[in-house]
Symmetry: C2
Subunit: 152 residues, 2 copies
Amino acid sequence: MKLEQAIQSNKFKNETQKAALNVLYTAWWLKTSMSKGLKEFGLTHEQYNVLRILKGKYPEQICVRDIACRMIEKNSNVPRIVDRLEIKKLVKRTTSQFDKRETVITLTQSGILLLEASTKSIDQNMETLSVLNETESAQLNKLLEKMRSLEE
Amino acid sequence: MKLEQAIQSNKFKNETQKAALNVLYTAWWLKTSMSKGLKEFGLTHEQYNVLRILKGKYPEQICVRDIACRMIEKNSNVPRIVDRLEIKKLVKRTTSQFDKRETVITLTQSGILLLEASTKSIDQNMETLSVLNETESAQLNKLLEKMRSLEE
DNA sequence: AACTAATACATGTATATACATATAAATTAA
DNA sequence: TTAATTTATATGTATATACATGTATTAGTT
């Protein structure tokens, strides 16, 4: 769907302004698609993101700060997301032996199982959705990274 | 900044998967940049979006449903965003004469003034941030719209 | 006309973002 | 070694998203 239809507007100053809105809208669309798939596993998009980060290091442990700096949305309140994962017994919190300020998070067995099942479903979903080939995707990555080149 | 640095990971299955994450991260980055600029006006990103939609039709009135379908994030809770704009006296709520179920929203004079000031600041900010030229932006728009082509 | 269904909005709840502040532990400075 | 500073996490508050439910009004059906 063209952006014009999606947000019922065609008053863009130029292609650059439209591109910014298009990125925002596409991100919303992607998140929504993912969330739909995650629903049957009782996970939110963000909880899934945290589980994936933990999996990436498993069986190595990882502290809250390290999770935070790997999150896509940098202002995520990781302790609170971990709260919910802990209630569902998908992760375990422990105080680090080496630095008692640090809280170390570990995936539980059921966390691993749920992540595997949901990842399979999500990846399949993404596979179906992805109409861009590798060359186009690479081009998109290049443009997005150029767009962000003034990032501090 | 490369996505790899931003989220401290280089374990992407392929360029297509990376592109999805890159869109999500870029959207977060854009929102954050915009929000910083809006802060001095006491507006959130979403409140600003609603004000812009109202401006787009001004002086014509527009109901809550029409605002909602023009929002970038389609699940926005428009009545609640309007609540906050109303408290700040930036908009006015009236029940439609033609259909008493509809709530019609109008910009107040101070809403218009605030929007003008903030738009000027935001546009200037965006101008500075935009390193993509028109051709590149058009290419980006094309890729994003292709990415979403399976949209229902 | 009375009943049913649909629509528009408001409101409630859970979770998240964004940011400020509090608390405990570790590091550095005096 | 004590005091000050920094760091890691938790917690509080306002606003937002996501979705369910409630309520009033309109439209449609019998």
